[in-house]
């Protein structure tokens, strides 16, 4: 593996994604600032969390689609004209994407923790839970990315996303129920009950890694015989009309990445709707976050026992907000 060229390609992607990254970071920090300044309004906190989650998801989706974009914007021939094998190219895409995501994730997580610590009314007990969930999001996203890049199939991506989402959900739920965490979440202090927390993290992280490792190795193996799409067969593009004998120009222009892994060229690919794939993924993660928010809400309800008058109102608001954002996640092209 030529690490030099892989590094150059990663740096190139960094440079290209620079504006987006800065915008995401800026918006995230702005949100944290707004949440902190909101002085204890439930809605502000919940909205803040949802906006942050949206940023992370959005960034994740953009990163995931960076490989697709390379093809769509037709810059792939330029990259592949460089002294790089397809394996190295894919590695740079995967590593680079996850790296960018990781930096943003780290920034937002630290920002969130800092906001909790600095803001007087924020229960510090939330921090362990948030850290665990953030780690879960990171590992889940890495897994989804690895699977998506390996298979470039929306079927697999949706599958893994759903499973990952459910797992995240279950983990969040079970962690919130754990006595060492559940009781301390609403508390004013951070209480890391080291044994149980680290056991939990290690259990879920190792579970995810067990899936991550084989998928990455599958990726590496399959990438040795990869081919780019063929411009003579770029159906649906302007060449289609000129190529003799082509009867059914399909919507392949945007979907060529599906054929990368198949040695047999697949012409008709019904349902390989890339928009659907990403939208589904967002949906799944959004579901997760909705669940998460509900958990938060449960904790917050417990918290809000002290101030009961606004609970019912807030519950409805929460659902409204979540549903609204769910529709938002059907983002078209990224």
């Amino acid at each position: 593996m030529n690490t030099f060229i892989v590094t150059r390609l990663i740096l190139k992607d960094w440079y290209l994604n620079r504006p987006l990254f800065v915008a995401a970071l800026f918006t995230g920090l702005l949100t944290l600032g707004a949440v902190s300044a909101a002085k204890g309004t439930q809605i502000a906190v919940i909205l803040g969390v949802i906006v942050l989650a949206t940023i992370l998801i959005g960034m994740g989706a953009v990163i995931m689609s960076s490989m697709v974009n390379e093809r769509r914007q037709q810059t792939l021939p330029f990259v592949m004209s460089l002294p790089v094998s397809y394996l190295e190219y894919t590695t740079s895409k995967l590593a680079g994407s996850l790296l960018i995501f990781f930096v943003l994730w780290l920034a937002l997580l630290s920002g969130m923790i800092a906001t909790i610590l600095v803001t007087p009314w924020f229960p510090h007990g939330l921090i362990p839970f948030i850290v665990i969930m953030a780690v879960e999001i990171l590992v889940t996203t890495s897994l989804i990315a690895a699977v998506s890049v390996t298979t470039e199939s929306q079927g697999w991506t949706i599958g893994v996303t759903q499973v990952g989402g459910l797992a995240l959900n279950a983990v969040g739920f079970s962690i919130a129920r754990m006595p060492s965490i559940g009781h301390t979440m609403s508390g004013p202090t951070i209480q890391w009950s080291s044994a149980s927390i680290f056991k939990t993290i290690s259990r879920t992280a190792s579970g995810k890694s067990a899936l991550l490792i084989p998928s990455v190795s599958l990726l590496l193996r399959s990438r040795c015989q990869i081919q780019m799409s063929d411009p003579d067969i770029r159906l649906g593009g302007k060449l289609a009309a000129r190529v003799p004998g082509i009867q059914h120009p399909a919507r392949l222009n945007n979907h060529q990445f599906h054929f990368v892994f198949r040695k047999r060229f697949v012409l008709h690919a019904p349902g390989h709707d890339e928009h659907l794939a990403w939208a589904q993924m967002h949906l799944a993660v959004a579901e997760v976050d909705a669940q998460l928010a509900l958990h938060d809400e449960k904790c917050l309800v417990r918290l809000r026992m002290v101030v009961p008058d606004e609970v019912a109102y807030e519950l409805r608001e929460l659902e409204l907000v979540v549903v609204h954002l769910r529709n938002h996640f059907r983002r078209p092209s990224l």
Binding site: I5, L16, Q74, F78, L82, V84, L239, V243, P244
Partner: protein
């Protein structure tokens, strides 16, 4: 003995509606090969296989001594590739691209790059998305030329360029060949260009190589013979008649294996030879393709 810069042997690649069959090609170091074919004939597929971007179903491909596509990363260190459907990064400047390529290729010649900037009339600080088609093609060519590759692979380098830009590009390509260790493989719709600067010509049609030959001997073999038949006379039998045109009394024969003895043979048969005309590459190309297609239909 010159070694081969490019070698295809029995290369086949099948798609559901198109197939590249039994491609054999040889290009010696220091030469320039012009690759001619109709749209959809398989030029781009062949070039992608050459670059290792598409994996052939069978057959071997060797580029600068490296087997493709397995050793493509090594081979591409010495190759400059420009294709018609290649795009650079729109939001970034030409300067960024030059620095990017320079950081990857140790053979980058900055002085030559600046010289090309001047001659191609390009501005470094301009973003790629602001360039016209011709400028983008020239920019891509600059990035390929300035790294001084041993092999240049160009897919339609002059398509879409105005005549002045075309001439500039052809000059630069020829200048590359001043070094006899450098080789060029290019495909083009522009038969005039191919005819003028190629050492070797290869015709491809419907996924098969029709001809691959030394340009001068190739052009020497094709002739249009204008005859005047006396009444009730019969057309002389000549080998390699590809097409018979004109009228009954004034036939025009297109032959693919001309020899001066044919003229004598006609005269001996009592047929007057009005003229023996050479053919341009375009005319040969059209006759070749049309003839094949007619034979296929028949």
């Amino acid at each position: 003995m010159t070694d081969l810069a490019v070698q295809f042997a029995g290369v086949t690649k099948k798609y559901p509606h198109f197939a590249l069959t039994d491609i054999d090609l040889e290009l010696s170091t220091g030469g320039i090969m012009g690759f001619v074919g109709a749209n959809g004939a398989g030029k781009s597929t062949t070039i992608r296989i050459l670059m290792g971007l598409v994996h052939q179903d069978c057959g071997t491909v060797d580029v600068l001594g490296h087997a493709m596509p397995m050793q493509q990363a090594v081979a591409k260190r010495d190759v400059g590739f420009v294709s018609e459907d290649m795009r650079l990064y729109g939001p970034l400047t030409l300067a960024w691209h030059m620095n990017f390529v320079r950081s990857i290729y140790p053979g980058w010649d900055q002085r030559y790059a600046e010289d090309l900037l001047r001659r191609f009339d390009l501005k470094v600080e301009q973003k790629i998305k602001g360039l016209s088609h011709g400028q983008r093609v020239k920019a891509a060519l600059l990035l390929a030329l300035a790294r001084r590759p041993r092999l240049l692979v160009l897919d339609e380098p002059t398509t879409g360029l105005d005549p002045v830009a075309r001439r500039e590009v052809l000059s630069e390509l020829m200048a590359v060949l001043a070094d006899e260790e450098r080789t060029i493989f290019f495909s083009s719709q522009n038969t005039l260009d191919v005819e003028q600067i190629s050492d070797q010509i290869t015709f491809i049609d419907r996924g098969r190589i029709i001809e691959s030959a030394n340009k001068e001997s190739f052009l020497d073999r094709w002739r249009r013979i204008r005859l005047m038949l006396p009444p009730n006379a019969v057309l002389p039998r000549l080998p390699g008649i590809v097409e018979v045109g004109g009228s009954a009394r004034l036939p025009v024969l297109t032959v693919s294996r001309f020899e001066p003895a044919m003229v004598a043979a006609c005269q001996d048969a009592g047929v007057a030879v009005q003229a023996v005309d050479a053919m341009t590459l375009e005319e040969i190309f059209i006759v070749n393709v049309q003839n094949r297609r007619e034979r296929e239909v028949a």
